[in-house]
Every structure is written in structure tokens, then in C-alpha cells.
Symmetry: C2
């Protein structure tokens, strides 16, 4: 008899953003004339930059002729892209990352979700709360948790991120083996200083733990002194993996490309305590279960690093950050406490005691504005909502006018 | 201490095709003037058809304007593509498959590799030998096997495919829960009749087993009476999942798109014996760990089903099958026994007692021709090689001339 992976039954039936989409669709059906403004899922809205489109078309054009056609590429990504990433995102910024430590993929969501496969089933995992649900759900699926009791999975060490700790995860009281960190943070938009990250790198080195660092939003950092990569911290090469994405940086949410950095210095331990190369393990996983990113998409990603591409992408980021400023100003004027939006596209708003789904429904029904209910990211988000800066300035301004009316 | 998934240590250090690439690169380095002809990995060589290029460019062009830009799409694929697949590949051919049973992905390799996550850790798995290594390796990684002893993993039920059974897997002597089947077969090129498949569907129904059916090569079927889909067999909707790919059908090996059919009728069982919807489980997995296929790639895939696309793609398939005829004729003239090449792009050649890696090295060094050693696909392939028809006719003819000289 073919039996199921019973761990799936521990999960909530659907993924957070599917739940939201359903509520929004139901509302639209009942209110066909409602002009809904989406500041929820955090999906970019600006067209791909001209330099990227040019690279993309060129890639397609090469596929049109036998002599320049590309079949299977290296699973890890083409050398031209791995080199461009290593140079521009790391080496030029003083981080010691080589091209062959970059694994190009179809997105950071997949990599964040798949990376846990490399670890034993009974490791202890620390996960911030609130958190991007993928870190948690994929470990539930893999059987690394017990049941969900009162909204929390047994066996997980939750790192509460609240106002009193400035929405920064604090070192756990019990030993952990694997730590998920994300800065600039999704969903709160909070950032970590080098000193904040150093505490974690030191902890990992002392405890033979590993950090999975999600830097999908690094491009939104405006303050020069904030670290953009975990590899700006001394010793991180031995204890940290970094996930990056072109989704938010260059508008690739529908184009699909990201990458993961696995330094060759990074060692984990087998059941006898012997060292195992994490790079070799991820390489084996990546080559066995993945077949590389579409060639034209890799050409499009390469163009992100061209002089024009860099300039155009920076303009888009500035555009979204200006939206974030508009949102922050409105929220502050309305007397709400918030964090984020300064070095991140997300603003995390304290609902003044409102339940987050109730707040979500209020904004949807009174202002036709979609946000994300904080409770979907964890218990610590129960009285927060996340508003995203990804939309046109015009729509953001309209949404903020509506919020002023609905919430005054 | 962060501990590794020890199951990885059971695997061979590298993936078959990486091993081959290394040998070929070493040979090329030592013989820089050698004009190597690659009939190994099974990678297509014809440019994407004009209709596909047109759809691909259009998709890119839509990404260039804010008003037509696409961000996150449905993880399961756009409706336009799911509808086109369901209609053209199934409904028009009499198979009862609905659009919402199609899950579009970045390739059949990923889906074949990931699907096992839905099952319990201790199910009994039947896998043909020889076999596409991904089925086996991904189950090893997941801990469903014991050690590798003499080239076989403990705990797996191997279905020997040899000359005496016409290279068709036979029903196992012990009960199994999950069965991997692939027709037209990779690596042997053998095909199964409807009656052959019915035996397996009936077995699965009687034993509450599940079939994972890999139909990546269905487009190469020339004989009308051979089934192109498992769903041509009555009752298969309850017990079979089908993997499909645009890679070999439409030249997408470097473009990346495939899909998996999970019928809503397909039920598996939880640890209490209660039925669980496989469709719901795969949907949860797909939405949690995957973020959809690049929009322009989906537009390119849609164009495969346009009238021009269908015609152009059929011409490419005919071109490769003509190559296969050239290979079959040469191999027969040289007095080798073989199977495949008639309804498949692969020809599986009995090396007359030679070890397959020895035969591989012979062809590489004497003819500068790359094949795939059968031993890489399993013990039953130890005295076979696989030759692929994916190349230009000119190169296939040159390769065959060289084989005639080297092997006479």
C-alpha cells in the first residue's frame, strides 16, 4: 500500500499567500467594481529594465539558430553569470566569494525550501517569529517538527522578534544546530548591523551550528554601514550559506532567477562527527534534482550587472523606496507604530491591538487595499500587518489616501 | 552540532553525466585537435522552432512594459498553458485529463526527483534496471534504501530489463508500493504496448500501489498502436502520475519546461489507512517549494501547440528519428544486437561482452564519439552502451563512419 508522508498532515491546508488570494478573489467577486490595490504579497510591478530585456531577447535569439543554440547548461549556472555575481555582488564589496561557490537557481524560494534536505532529521532548528513561511513549512514536511499546537510546531526553537528587542532575533536559551536569518527582514523590514550578525556568526562558530542567511532584500539597504551580505562578517565563510534573488532586486518575480552561496570552507558533520563538505553536498543535490536555469533567463540576469542594468535597477529600487517613504509617513501620521520601510520594501505596522486578519479584512473591505496579515508569519505577528512598497507611486498614494479615510 | 543527512554518503560521489563530461574533457585536453561528436547525454541540438522563438520573444516583450509585465504567476502554471497541454496532449487523444490536473514545472528531472517527497520513508520501491539515475538517487538521498552493495542499493526491488524479457520490466515477486516506469524507455529505447501497461495498472489497482510514469519521450512514438500516455489505460487515473517534458519534444533542454499530471482520482494512504489526495499533496509541495516557471518560457511552451509549432516540432522529431535510423542501420551492419531507435531517440547496443565503460572509452579514443556507458544506468547495463540520435545528421553520419572503422 502506497503510504503518504504523514508530516504533510501537520501543515495548514494551504500556503499563506493562497489564503490571501482567495479572500481577495471572494471580495472582488462580491464587489466587482472595487478597485483593489495590492500591497500584499510583495510582488514587483515595474517592467523589467531595458538592459535586462535586451539581454533576455539576445538569449532567445541565440536559441533560434543551430550554431548558437544552447541545450543543457551547467546545473550550477553558466560561468558568465556566476562570474558576474561573484565579482559584482561580493568581490567588489570586499567579500571573499568565488564564482564556483555560486549556485544559480530558479529562485530563492526553491533554494530556501530545498536546502534543509542536506541535514539530519533530528537537528534542532531556530526560526524567527514572524518569518517567511517557507523555512518552517519545508522543515515540517521533512518531519523535523512535532504537531502544531496553538500555532507553533513542537520541536522548533522560535526566536521571538518583537518591539522590545527591536524585531531582532536573540540568541536562543537552548543549543540549536541550524538558524534561519533574514535581513533586511521579511516580513518586518528590520535590519541587522554588523555587530548584530557577528553575534550569530560567533555563536555558530562556537556551537558548530550553521546559519542560513536570506539576503533577498539586500538591494534595498540605503545605509552604507549596514551589511549587505553575511560574508561581511569575519568567519562567516565557515558557518553560513547565503540565499539571494533577482526577484526583488531586478524585478524577476515572474522571470525566475536567484542563487545560493555555499562557501567551500563550510563544513558540517556526519553521524560519526567527521567533517562533510556542504558545498559538495549541495552540488550533488543541485546536479541530481535540478537541471539549470533557462539560458535566456541567465542572459537576462547577466544584464543586471551591465553598467546600464545597474543604473536602471538602482532607479527601480529608489522608486520602490520612495513608495515606502510615502507609506511610512502616512502610517506615522495615523499614529501607528511601525518598523521597516527604510532599508526594506516592507513596513510592519502595529495594529493597536487588532487581530491581524481582522485588520487585513478591515483594509480590504473599507479601503480595497490588500496587505498581509502578520499572523500568517507567526504568532508574534498576530497584531501586525505588513504593507509592501511594491506598486506604482500613484497606487500607493491612492491606497494611503484611502487608509487615511478608513482609519481616522 | 549541525549534522548531515547521512544518506548522501551512500551515493556515488558524482552524477553519471558529470563523470562522462569529465572523461570527455580530459580526452579533449589531451587531444586538442580531436573533433569530438557527442551522442551521449541525449541533449537536443536543433534550434528552437520559429513558432516557439516567436512566442518566447513575445513573452519577453510583455515583460518590458508595466502594463503587460508579469510578476509572480500561479505556481502550477498559467491557465493558458495548462489548458493547451490538457487539450492537445490528452483530451484530443482521448485521455481524461483536466487542465487543473497539470502542474507546469521547470522540467521533468525536477519533478521526477521531487515527487518521492510525498511518500512515507519506508515504502517499498520497484525501479527498473537499467534506469535514469534520478529515480534511484533521489530515493537514496531520502533514506529509502540501505547501502550500495555490488552496485545495488539494499531495500530497492530492481526490475531487470534484459534481452530475454525484451527490455520490459516484469511484475515483482514481492509486493511493492511505488513503481517507476518510463516508456519510450530511457536508456534502452524500448516501448510498451497497451497490454504491457495494463498489466502494471492492474497490479497497482490490486495492490494499492502507485505508478510514476515518465513519458518524456512520447513524441518519438511512430507506431500508432503504442500508447503515448499511461492514461490511455483504463483505471490509470486512480493509480498513476505522469511526467512530461518539452525538453526532447520541442528542444527545451536549455529553455526548461515540463509538467506533471496528478489526477484528482489518485488516492494514497496515511498511516491509519485513510485516503489522502495525492493532487492536494503535490499542490501543497509545489506551492511551498516552487514559484512557477518563467513567464516568457511558458509563452514559448504554449507556442509548441500552435499549428505552426506542432508542424515544426514534428519535423524536428522526424529529423532525429531519421538519425536514429542511420545509427540502427550502422549498428546492425556491424553485427551488434540492439533495441530502441524506432520509437525512441536512443539505441541500446549490446557490446558483445565488453564492459560498458571500456566500450565507452573505446569509442571515445578510437572514434572521438561520446556515448553513454550502460553501466551508469544500472547493473543490467554493464555490457551495453546507449547511443543518442540527438545531433545533426551530418555528425551522426560522420560518427557512424568512424564507428565502422573503429569496430570492424
Amino acid at each position: 500500500m502506497i503510504r503518504a508522508n504523514d508530516n504533510y498532515s501537520k501543515l495548514k491546508a494551504s500556503y499563506l499567500f493562497s489564503d490571501i488570494a482567495k479572500r481577495v478573489n471572494d471580495y472582488q467577486k462580491k464587489n466587482p467594481d472595487a478597485d483593489i490595490i495590492r500591497l500584499g504579497i510583495g510582488d514587483v510591478t515595474c517592467a523589467l529594465a531595458p538592459a535586462i530585456i535586451k539581454g533576455f531577447h539576445q538569449g532567445v535569439e541565440e536559441m533560434a539558430l543551430d550554431k548558437s543554440f544552447r541545450g543543457y547548461g551547467p546545473e550550477q549556472g553558466y560561468e558568465f553569470l556566476r562570474q558576474a555575481i561573484a565579482k559584482n555582488d561580493f568581490q567588489d564589496k570586499g567579500c571573499d566569494v568565488a564564482a564556483d561557490e555560486i549556485f544559480v537557481s530558479d529562485g530563492a524560494k526553491c533554494d530556501c525550501g530545498n536546502f534543509q534536505e542536506l541535514f539530519a532529521g533530528d537537528i534542532k532548528i531556530a526560526i524567527p517569529d514572524p518569518v517567511y513561511p517557507v523555512y518552517l513549512d519545508t522543515n515540517v514536511m521533512a518531519g523535523r517538527t512535532g504537531k502544531n499546537v496553538d500555532g507553533r510546531y513542537e520541536g522548533i526553537v522560535y526566536l521571538d522578534c518583537e518591539k522590545q528587542n527591536n524585531f531582532l532575533p536573540q540568541l536562543p536559551k537552548e543549543p540549536v544546530d541550524l538558524i534561519y536569518l533574514c535581513f533586511p527582514n521579511n516580513p518586518t523590514g528590520s535590519t541587522a548591523t554588523k555587530q548584530d550578525l557577528k553575534v550569530w556568526v560567533d555563536y555558530a562558530r562556537e556551537n558548530k551550528a550553521l546559519i542560513l542567511f536570506d539576503a533577498a532584500y539586500e538591494a534595498f539597504i540605503r545605509e552604507d554601514e549596514l551589511p549587505r551580505s553575511i560574508y561581511e562578517i569575519e568567519g562567516a565563510r565557515q558557518v553560513a550559506v547565503e540565499f539571494r534573488s533577482f526577484s526583488k532586486t531586478a524585478g524577476f518575480t515572474g522571470t525566475r532567477c536567484g542563487f545560493t552561496v555555499v562557501p567551500k570552507d563550510c563544513m558540517i558533520y556526519d553521524s560519526t562527527g567527521a567533517k562533510v563538505s556542504l558545498h559538495a553536498m549541495w552540488n550533488r543535490r543541485h546536479t541530481t534534482k535540478f537541471n539549470g536555469v533557462s539560458y535566456p533567463v541567465q542572459k537576462a540576469a547577466e544584464a543586471v550587472y551591465s553598467p546600464e542594468g545597474k543604473k536602471q535597477v538602482a532607479e527601480q529600487i529608489a522608486y520602490y523606496l520612495n513608495n515606502a517613504d510615502v507609506i511610512r509617513k502616512t502610517v506615522a501620521d495615523l499614529g501607528f507604530d511601525y518598523v521597516g520601510g527604510k532599508n526594506a520594501p516592507y513596513i510592519w505596522i502595529d495594529g493597536k491591538g487588532r487581530d491581524s486578519w481582522e485588520f487585513f479584512d478591515l483594509l480590504l473591505t473599507k479601503a480595497s487595499v490588500v496587505c498581509t496579515p502578520g499572523g500568517g508569519f507567526g504568532r508574534c505577528g498576530n497584531s501586525y500587518i505588513r504593507i509592501s512598497a511594491f506598486n506604482s507611486l500613484e497606487k500607493v498614494e491612492t491606497a494611503m489616501e484611502r487608509l487615511k479615510k478608513a482609519l481616522k
